[in-house]
Symmetry: C2
Subunit: 402 residues, 2 copies
Amino acid sequence: MAVDAGGVRAVNLARVLSAALACPTPPTRADLALATATTRATAARLVDDLLAGGLLEELGAQAGRPRGPGRPGTPLGPGSTLGALGLQVDVDRVAAVVVDLTGAVRAERVEDDDLRGSRPAPVLRRLARLAHRALADAPDVLVVGARLALPGIVADDGVLLRAPNLGWSDVPVAELLPDLPGLAAVAVGNEAELAAVPISFAAPGRPGTHRDFVYLSGSTGIGGAVVLDGHPVRGRHGWAGEVGHVTVDPAGPACACGSTGCLEQYAGARALAAAAGLPETTRTSEVARRATAGDARAREAVERAAAGLGIALSAVVNVLDVPVIVLGGHLRELGELVRPTLERTLGRRVLSAAWVTPVVEVAPERPVAAALGAAYVELHRLVADPGPWLEGRTAAAVPSGG
Amino acid sequence: MAVDAGGVRAVNLARVLSAALACPTPPTRADLALATATTRATAARLVDDLLAGGLLEELGAQAGRPRGPGRPGTPLGPGSTLGALGLQVDVDRVAAVVVDLTGAVRAERVEDDDLRGSRPAPVLRRLARLAHRALADAPDVLVVGARLALPGIVADDGVLLRAPNLGWSDVPVAELLPDLPGLAAVAVGNEAELAAVPISFAAPGRPGTHRDFVYLSGSTGIGGAVVLDGHPVRGRHGWAGEVGHVTVDPAGPACACGSTGCLEQYAGARALAAAAGLPETTRTSEVARRATAGDARAREAVERAAAGLGIALSAVVNVLDVPVIVLGGHLRELGELVRPTLERTLGRRVLSAAWVTPVVEVAPERPVAAALGAAYVELHRLVADPGPWLEGRTAAAVPSGG
DNA sequence: GTGTTTTGTTCAATGATGAAACTAATACGC
DNA sequence: GCGTATTAGTTTCATCATTGAACAAAACAC
């Protein structure tokens, strides 16, 4: 069973499907044959299987094909009947989204709330109710997987080891979460890592603008994700990305983690508010508003955050050679305010800046980015190996309902 | 040409060969069939091709096989007629080694010298002469590739952008290096990244003790390499691993790179010597000797280096989740002296240390580690895709000489 | 309306693996 | 010493997916 004829078919199914999803414009069977360096005969057979499985769909002939001589091809697109459930528990909200293979959000349920210091079990029951409703909102989508984004360190077996801002520790999330209809299990992942996925991908399987970047996330704390060559760097245990606890200044203020001078003490939402002379619960957008309006203390706080970010991110860039930094989470609000100092610091402290200057960008506004990314990841699992899925429902009709 | 029958064969050849090299004890055809989840018939066919190409060899029947009922199998081992040339230019030496697939060093030529501020062309000519002699030392090895390790930032096209300690800038190394007999081109790579390879691999294709670690290298400067899941993290342009310029303390001493408080200013060989009140060119082993002997300034210098390493490496571990740190280069000499402070700092500053404490190890003494790793990398290229090699020499006999 | 062009389909040939039968070589038991 | 059990390696045939070429379909262009 190393790689036999069946294995070849599985690989080529994935290749054709990936190529189809990656196409900026709906491809025909002939286009896919070209893209995957195979013959039209093979591409057509593989496409037929993918159509039967609902992974691809034949689009109307009008779908923006360039006109010209010759028989017009049949434009193909991702299937709209297959989707995944993305879940998110954050300090500010609970969310559930259903996303299909085209990238369309077929259902979105969000409940804003302050979940700092909450108890896991009730929150997870609430999340399950929300997920139920989202699934009911999209009855004609066959959901092939579910994943939950959590702002903390997650172990391989689905146990949340620690989410400092939620105040959760050693929570067996996968077990506690009530069963969802038609879904075997809910996978669990880190919020920043999952929120970075919609930056890497414009839609499931379709490359986004960047293949290599650091994404900074978070609200109170600062989480991060490093994406290289389109894949998140997860580390030995999947705990990579704790940019918030990189030391900015060993003589700096004490951090709740036991260390001193962590980035979080400079650019975390509470530290930022405190430095601006405001109550710790002040939203970052308010600090940014005051800094823009000319408030001296607010401006100083923002500068301090920018300098801290510069030092911590210089370490990341020096060690990982990532040319792009995307500011997400509450750091979005600071955006242009921190850019000058941040880019200047990077230019000075990054060794390779002489050849390539790191670029700082602001992530698009998207409160449920992590849930969206969670859904994408589940869809990518399907796309990466469609073989078993197709075998599992041979000759099965398109699902008629949830 | 996506994946056809020929592609299957290529993949399975690589699978069988990789499995054979990875085996701790010489495997038989039947063992390989088991290891690659294929049938004995297929494994035997693939092995025969690999034998014909010299990639595998049949060992004597006495090669440590467990005895028992049944027909004894034919133990197989890596071919001893195929090898690669590993080259190294360091501030302290020039080296050329020929390593075969078994991992045996068939030739080793080293010339110690101080190459700080040297001129590239003469050094590269000298390296070529050394390589010639090494190749002549191993006439019965067919050399399939060559790679040169350089202590600096290397671009994809083989240009050395900057090697601060050598004092080289923008050197088109691949062009300047005189041609070597029977070798099309010499690839170029970063010294730390290549020196880390023999830590990942006990022999070509044979896993070493660690799959995930940070390797610290260097003499004057400090280079680093991060290995995750057995593969070095190279970054967007291949410039990852500049641990030496991670900021330890933004208020620290100025660094030649233009920044302040870089790790190099704490744990670099010159900084270490200076902090110990010794001439900058003092070898690190001398500083270590004095510290061990009780010299107060030397001990302070070592402590300062250990603290700096702790802060910089905490950043690396927080961001990348690498559980093992291997001290190579001149940091080997400090070894046990820095371990207590280093491990303590890591324990305090690494967020995940509560679950997994990072381990600090000292690399084995091996002055030509980078050259060795360079040879391994070339051999791995062959192992990863033996198909073209086998086709290129169909029915060719074992080479009778260089 | 006819010719050209490109798409999609059909069909025999190719090539590698899988499965099973067969031969080879050793240990074990009597 | 000899037969049996057991495992290794080889041979042969069937299977399966791709390839390549020929064929049918559907549009544009003159």
